[in-house]
């Protein structure tokens, strides 16, 4: 029971990663590998700032800003340098590793005995694990509300149009390069916040904590889409967070079922692959139905 609460809390915190990735992976429709660098970047920046006595809230905002800078670099390499997006992301991700080591000065910094977003009187008075549920919920609600407002503005609509059909967006006078840079900046800023939150929740920041992060983000997006089906843009943002929570449930089930933890990565890949294939199976199924339908219609015409 406690572990379910913990899974919900963790799912909410990781959900921010999914939302960040959603902006580039789904709206702009390209794979941004920078995330594996900006996630630990956010952790490194915030934890280092906190250990130097900065207010944890400001430290988390600082992580957001620096994550945005990293996103901007990927964006400039892609739009101005004409480097393919996959490569541009991988380049920045690789560079982030050294940057993170420089920032932290070592490979692992502990937050024990230091202030963090989770060490305040109110959160500590809540029942076990409700601290991350509560804080995660508030942050997710704020982020989704701000994003929903933003996507409704002219700028937001231009951003969506760029991802939908670049040529058409250009013909309407939208600077698509600007939109792509903006998307990468917001996305990586949010992912850096996710890194900062997870590091503060886990109590340490480690230079290797970004490995495999993109799978967790994609899992949130895809599980959300498969489980909840057709939704509007704002609802899809919420679905990503629900997807992240469901993904944590799946991991919990795997751990509880007593599978060797050796197989954990294999199992999460299988879950993800099944979710990715489901729409294909569904359309095959529809295909069969339309076929039957098609065979019947000529008779009706008579």
């Amino acid at each position: 029971m406690n572990l379910i609460t913990s899974a919900i809390g963790q799912g909410l915190l990781w959900g921010l990663l999914g939302i960040g990735l959603f902006l580039t992976f789904r709206i702009l429709d390209f794979p941004d590998m920078t995330v594996e660098g900006t996630f630990p970047l956010g952790a490194a920046v915030s934890v280092t700032a906190v250990t130097h006595g900065m207010n944890p809230f400001l430290a988390t905002l600082l992580a957001f800003l620096i994550g945005m800078v990293a996103g901007l670099i990927t964006g400039l390499l892609y739009t101005k340098g004409r480097i393919p997006i996959l490569l541009a992301g991988i380049l920045v991700m690789t560079a982030c590793y050294s940057v993170n080591l420089r920032i932290m000065g070592t490979s692992n910094i502990s937050l024990l005995g230091k202030q963090s977003l989770f060490t305040n009187h109110f959160l500590e008075s809540l029942p076990q694990y409700f601290d991350s549920v509560f804080l995660g919920f508030i942050i997710i609600a704020i982020v989704i509300a701000l994003l929903a407002l933003f996507l409704q503005t002219d700028l937001g609509q231009a951003f969506i149009a760029t991802g939908d059909n670049e040529k058409m967006a250009k013909s309407l006078g939208i600077s698509t390069d600007l939109m792509k840079n903006m998307g990468l900046m917001i996305s990586n800023g949010l992912i850096a916040i996710a890194g900062a939150l997870i590091a503060q929740s886990n109590g340490y920041s480690d230079v290797n904590m970004g490995i495999g992060i993109i799978v967790i983000g994609l899992a949130s997006i895809i599980i959300g889409e498969v489980v909840f089906g057709e939704l509007t843009m704002n609802q899809r943002l919420i679905a990503v967070v629900c997807g992240s929570i469901i993904y944590r449930f799946v991991l919990l089930l795997v751990l509880k079922a007593g599978f060797g933890t050796n197989d954990l990565n294999l199992i999460s890949s299988i879950v993800l692959a099944l979710c990715l294939m489901l729409p294909t199976f569904r359309s095959r199924f529809h295909f069969k139905r339309t076929l039957e339908h098609g065979l019947k219609t000529p008779e009706r015409k008579d």
Partner: protein, 330 residues
């Protein structure tokens, strides 16, 4: 949309239920004390520590399954599992928890603040913020550090390489214990006025090129306790053999893989010490009266064929020492 609203509603109902259920949830009482043992990954050295811990507990009269339950969890190198596993121990109301390696210990300390915690194989307990006062731990944490006897190792290098001008050190920049040891080692070299050249790698793919560059400008190489380099020792030795530069690693297994000699911490003994400490705490010894233990003197391991190949002369007294208390590879 309906499905999503349903999901969210179900979640809220659950959370509301859990919120109030929590406060009435009494601790589960069991007669046998439970010990949570958390390990970061599968690795031979860590497995030796683990089996040492079981022996140490037995020495103190605690037999797994008879009068204590050991709940053993292994995070398989994935750090996001550590939290879930620590929470599992907290849920079972474990009477004591042991964390092998720094991330495991930090993860346990983050979740439990009253249960006694024993750190096994934490290189730098103060740096990790686990313990402030090593002699009189002030919180619920104490343990055994796996820090190699660096001073003793440096003595050995100086004794075997009297004409050494430059010493090289190579370590993995993401390995916390390697970085800690590098920093302490650098300090020691400064105190003794030894010229130290520093090389670091980010993963084993860099090792070949970096070590080749290194061999041309140093007279001897020191390798701290470093999992990545330990796994890629043959690459390093291939290059050191070609350049005739002897390698002095911090760990005995690396001597077997082609290093020349070292004084090292026996991982199994380290585990036994950890287990004994845990046993004493289970019997009621106070944490504040249980100082963090370090191993001051290591066992001498010498790789004789490798020393001959490198032209390093090993005095007879050291050979005898290795034969009587340690290991001599012939």
């Amino acid at each position: 949309m309906k499905r999503m609203l349903g999901f969210i509603a179900a979640m809220f109902i659950f959370l509301g239920f859990a919120f109030f259920h929590e406060s009435t949830n009494g601790p589960v009482t069991s007669k046998k004390p439970t010990v949570g043992l958390l390990q970061l990954m599968n690795q031979p050295a860590l497995a030796q520590i683990q089996s040492g811990i079981y022996t140490g507990l037995k020495d103190e009269g605690f037999h797994n399954g008879k009068n204590i339950n050991i709940d053993y969890q292994n995070a398989q190198g994935n750090q996001s599992n550590l939290k879930t596993m620590s929470e599992k121990f907290a849920n079972e109301n474990a009477d004591l928890a042991i964390g092998i390696t720094t991330p495991s210990a930090i993860s346990l300390a983050d979740v439990m603040n009253k249960t006694p915690l024993v750190m096994g194989a934490v290189t730098d307990p103060q740096g990790a913020g686990l313990v402030k006062n090593l002699k009189k731990p002030e919180k619920n944490i104490t343990g055994v550090s796996d820090q190699a006897p660096l001073g003793e190792q440096l003595d050995l290098i100086q004794r075997l390489m009297p004409n050494m001008k430059t010493l090289g050190i190579i370590y993995t920049s993401s390995d916390n214990s390697a970085v800690t040891q590098y920093k302490k080692f650098k300090q020691l070299c400064e105190e003794r006025h030894i010229k130290l050249k520093v090389y670091s790698i980010s993963n084993s793919n860099d090792l070949n090129q970096v070590s080749q560059t290194m061999m041309s400008s140093v007279d001897a190489v020191y390798v701290p306790t470093d999992n990545t380099i330990a796994g890629a020792m043959s690459t390093l030795i291939k290059n050191s053999d070609a350049a005739k530069v002897p390698v002095f690693p911090a760990v005995d297994s690396m001597v077997k893989d082609g290093g020349v000699a070292t004084y090292s911490v026996n991982q199994y003994k380290l585990g036994v010490m950890t287990g004994k400490m845990a046993g004493k705490l289970l019997k009621g010894q106070k944490i504040s009266k249980t100082p963090v233990e370090f191993i001051r003197y290591g066992d001498l391991t010498i790789n004789l064929p490798q020393a001959k190949k490198m032209g390093v002369h090993i005095p007879d007294s050291l050979i005898q020492q290795a034969q009587s208390k340690g290991e001599l590879i012939k």
